[in-house]
Subunit: 170 residues, 2 copies
DNA sequence: TAGTGACATGTCAAGAGTGGAAGGTAGAAT
DNA sequence: ATTCTACCTTCCACTCTTGACATGTCACTA
């Protein structure tokens, strides 16, 4: 049910339409909890039916602006404080590394070298994103900053690890 | 289609039954690509129908031992060399961090403190696992070692990051 | 005025993943 | 002899996720 809570979380920052939320999922949440358009619109309808969000404005092109209700905020807080993350993370990248042994050493090193490049690129992208945002000091913003820092550290770690791994393959 | 390839990968190491594979998913692949029993047995049937694996022995308790076929090995190699990982990673833990701003600073710090503990525990578990395995020098084993090292570094990174993050919340 | 691109939503089929029920065998311990 | 535990498979109902199709508005520009 994480998509549900991701939507509630985004709406806790400011009211938004499905289209706005879709953009958030494509940018800030892309590497945290990706979601597609169909999923978002479907879930928004359900959330509205459940009374956790409500339509507070209708704009020009059929645009519907949703706002978090009190019940929605309560549900979000409940999720954060009373439940634990259960899903284990899945990483297709790592899964591939696990089976690199069926390839020749050259092929395996090639894969890891690719990975180094990808990590560097991702790191650069995040660095630019970081610089383009002016983080005002509120609590929400602090959490965005913290999440971005995670990405930065993650990519740095991954690059160092992949460099080490290349040397391990004989 | 990653589950499919995870199964082919495990069977490339040695023939195994659904039950054996289930145990692999619960241990070595638990933090890479978790899968449930129903998923595994279903996929094994499909893989056998597709001729990528075949039943090579039937044991005592209805046990069926599957072996990778040549077609299966080819498919595994094709997946590793010709296709790219597409799925973005999903992290419920990080998603929660992103929305920690709706909580009080104490609650938010509490969550991050929990995370530090979890990371330390996970790190310890992996360290013990590492020590209990005697890594012989073949290529498959090297990849297992590399994957485990990733976990070690990942948890260390996560702990440091969470410690830093606690200090960021005012 | 016709076309393009950003804005905006809705729906559906198919595939992937979850959780549990159900059933059966073999070996070991009480 | 019985029970317990580990072994082992199959099936089902459900939710989540993906990708594609369908539809329409508004602003700009060639």
């Amino acid at each position: 049910m994480s998509l549900r809570h991701a939507l509630l979380g985004l709406l806790s920052e400011r009211p938004a339409s499905g289209y706005d939320l879709l953009k958030s999922f494509d940018t800030s949440l892309a590497n945290v909890w990706p979601a597609t358009q169909s999923q978002i619109y479907t879930e928004l309808s359900k959330l509205a039916d459940a009374g956790l969000i409500s339509v507070t404005a209708e704009g020009p092109r059929g645009r519907k602006e949703y706002t978090l209700t009190d019940a929605g905020l309560a549900e979000l807080r409940h999720w954060l404080t009373e439940t634990k993350p259960q899903r284990n993370t899945r990483s297709e990248v790592l899964l591939r590394v696990f089976f690199l042994g069926v390839l020749t050493p050259e092929q395996a090193r090639g894969y890891l070298t690719e990975l180094i490049k990808l990590s560097e690129q991702a790191h650069e992208n995040l660095r630019h994103l970081d610089e383009s945002i002016d983080w005002d000091g509120d609590n929400l913003s602090v959490c965005g900053r913290i999440t971005l820092e995670y990405g930065l550290r993650f990519n740095a770690m991954r690059r160092e690890w992949a460099e080490w791994a290349v040397g391990q393959i004989r």
